[in-house]
Subunit: 168 residues, 2 copies
């Protein structure tokens, strides 16, 4: 795992938060917009590029769950599982962009149908891991995620986002 | 400019926001914490790695100011200058991390004194550009920034963060 793989196919940006909210369903005539939210935990922005596979998607999910980037109450860095904390996964195709002059191009991004499949598998690893972990279950930790392809209307509160980039 | 330079020395993550707040001075005995805030505009997370130079810092600042990633009222993508919008610059050394097992290592980050110097120059380009731009001045646009080396206690509200990575 490197944070500057030469030709990455899975890219995540991780941020620590004390709380975050994401709109998963815009308002329609007669219905309010719908939001999901998390408490303390990690925000995972995920982008799949050409060459991404189910294996790499799962590997990245496991890495995001186990890398020690969350600050525990006694100031130690622990994984989000050991915190234990919530997870908010946000599909973020824009992360695949490359600057060309004054615009971004997205030629390296994976096709939308493939990306959707990988995204579902990626989310699934988080759900299964958090649900079967006793500490997380006892603490009532949740995994929430955005709708693939939607605009990610989003807000967050952090005690320091401690932003990290990981590429595979 | 590439978003996956083989050995990048300047890395930014850009997010669009409708508003953002950053603590620049923690509370001390007898004084409240101090915050800066911006309205609609762009959040610029900046990290300098080994090999970063003043030239590259200035180039990245100009790129962040001119790349068309801000959504105007009529739905077009324009630069933050043309929006016109505010800028919040957040030093984020953690962006230089590389995964090693379950921890992040920061061997590639620039030395702190050099980073501070480049950070000052980086911020300066934003200030000068926004201040001398008539459209920005008329709209009362501001450049705000975090304190280098501090914890970046932060919150934001977005209409879609539209997260981008740019490396030089």
């Amino acid at each position: 795992a490197s944070s500057s793989a030469t030709n990455p196919s899975v890219r995540v940006v991780l941020q620590q938060c004390m709380g975050a909210q994401l709109m998963v369903q815009p308002a329609t005539e007669g219905s309010e917009p719908q939001f999901v939210e998390i408490r303390r935990g990690v925000i995972v922005y995920i982008c799949f590029l050409k060459g991404a596979t189910k294996t790499l998607a799962e590997k990245m999910a496991k890495l995001a769950l186990t890398v020690r980037l969350s600050e525990s109450d006694d100031g130690k860095l622990v994984s989000v599982i050991d915190l234990p904390g919530d997870v908010l996964i946000i599909p973020q195709a824009t992360l695949g962009g490359t600057v060309k002059g004054k615009v971004m191009q997205y030629h390296k991004n994976i096709a939308k149908d493939e990306g959707l499949q990988l995204y579902s598998e990626f989310v699934s690893v988080f759900r299964k891991t958090i649900e079967k972990n006793e500490k997380c279950a006892t603490a009532g930790c949740v995994v929430r995620h955005g709708t693939y392809g939607n605009r990610q209307v989003f807000s967050c509160q952090t005690n320091g986002p401690y932003t990290h980039l990981i590429e595979l």
